[in-house]
Amino acid sequence: MYDIATIVVGIIQVLAMLALAPLLTGIIRKTKARTQKRIGASILQPYYDLLKLVRKDEVISDQTSWIFRACPWVNFAAMATAAFFIPVFLVYTPFGLVGDLLLVVGLFALGRFFTMLAGLDVASSFGGLGSSREMMISALLEPALFLSIFVVAITYGGTNLSTMIEASSNSSFLPHPQIIFAAIGLFIIILGETGRLPFDNPATHLELTMVHETMILEYSGKSLAMMEWSQSIKQIILFTLMVNIFVPWGISSSILFSSLAVGFFMFAGKISLFGIFVAFLESSVAKWRLFRIPDLIAIAIATSMIGIVLCYL
């Protein structure tokens, strides 16, 4: 179907995602630090953290079973596999014939399933608390996500990400007002999925506000590195989706070196801008009370519903 060159570019895209994921986290942290009038750590700090962590010895809770130990690997494998199906700076990916957006969502859910189980496995009340909250948030995000995928898929003719992004890069969003609604919905969902404010505070160590952090509290060493890394991969995948579906400007449509280079730099620029925007947004909102989060998700659902109505008119 595709020639070797395309497949190579496809694999380069995947490796780029995996390699750049901690950098994006670094950029967001740096921006947040600057908005709080701090100097902040270097944007390469997440890499230093990962390197340090993989060399450390691990302490594992004696209450845990093999599920706790398998979870980081399952998580990483799921996220990295999901990265295969995302067109990054090339408008299509050769792996588009293997899986689509729904598979990506499914792989995220697989990672989350194991994370929740790992949270329960440690037998502390922290883990249970995190899993309990995550259960609610993830269950409610699912319909919002599916509805916004519905809008985008129908507008751009497929859940196959290559088709979707190719179509979006060939058309302006002007004739598709529903895309605005889908974008709003998807943006809220992405904040929830990546555990950003106002859903979850990624920087906190206070049990009142933690969600994701509580479930990985018991991890150390290599396992912690895997959990952190897979979380940043998930983040970069979702940001890439947002950027490439709604503002596909400059994405390369052929595998010529020059256009790939342009595509890559445009992508890097767009995704950093988006990360900085998210960081600013995070600095300006407070964490919401847990039971107000469904209100926010309801807004995402409602906007996607209007998007569907506009799709068909």
Binding site: L174, P175, P177, Q178, I180, F181, I184, P294, D295, I297, A298, I299, I301, A302, T303, M305, I306, V309, L310, L313
Partner: protein
């Protein structure tokens, strides 16, 4: 060009809908007042678009009036009149249907109005096509807010949303009846808001509550 124009119309209608949702999703007094202010700004933009498309200059005046009265004067008046009210009267703490459910219901009402409008006679007119469902949706959402909320203050919101919907409805269908009538309506609204806010201030002083549910006590059992 034609399609481009229609796109602009549809998208501005979409933005107006988003602004309306902002009002439904908030429950604090200042929050919804701000949301109402944004919605009115969008509405005046939409009115200006209608003016541009139809080429009738009076509509620009209506747009300007909308901007001034609805996004500046009415919020100012309402803040001024209610400044002495206790905070508990300003917060809609206990609507009949929770905020999240009402957001979903509003989305359903939008779908409903698009469904109802599908069969209107002026199909060829782009303005009607783009804005009539939006105005109808606003009307329904306003009505729903009236039904759902307990305190008098937040029922005023419903009234204001309905009014915005009706304004857009008239604009879309008739392209601005006549400037004189428009101005009359604006003044009417202003006075209506003034009277209702003074009234509700009195109610709160007399009954120590703004819960319309309390009116149930007037029923003869």
């Amino acid at each position: 060009m034609e399609t481009m124009q229609f796109d602009v119309l549809t998208i501005s209608g979409a933005v107006l809908l988003i602004a309306t949702f902002g009002i439904v999703a908030t429950r604090g007094f200042m929050d919804w007042l701000n949301a109402y202010r944004y919605q009115s700004i969008v509405l005046s933009g939409v009115t200006a678009i209608i003016g541009y498309v139809t080429g009738i200059w009076e509509i620009y005046i209506a747009a300007g009036l909308t901007l001034v009265i609805k996004s500046i004067i009415i919020p100012k008046v309402l803040t001024y009149v209610t400044r002495k009210l206790e905070i508990e009267f300003k917060l809609e703490t206990n609507p009949y249907v929770s905020i999240r459910a009402s957001v979903i219901i509003s989305a359903l009402l939008v779908a409903l109005s698009y469904f109802l409008i599908q069969q209107i006679p002026f199909k060829s007119d782009q303005i009607v096509n783009a804005y009539l469902p939006v105005s109808m949706a606003q009307f329904f959402i306003g009505l729903f807010v009236l039904v759902n909320r307990r305190t008098v203050l937040s029922q005023v919101v419903g009234l204001l949303i309905i009014e915005n919907g009706l304004f857009l409805f008239a604009m879309a269908l008739t392209h601005g009846v006549s400037l004189l009538i428009e101005v009359g309506i604006f003044v009417d609204i202003l006075v209506g808001i003034l009277i209702s806010s003074i009234l509700l201030f009195r109610i709160s002083r007399t009954f120590d509550s703004l819960d319309v549910g309390k009116l149930e006590n007037l029923r003869d059992d």
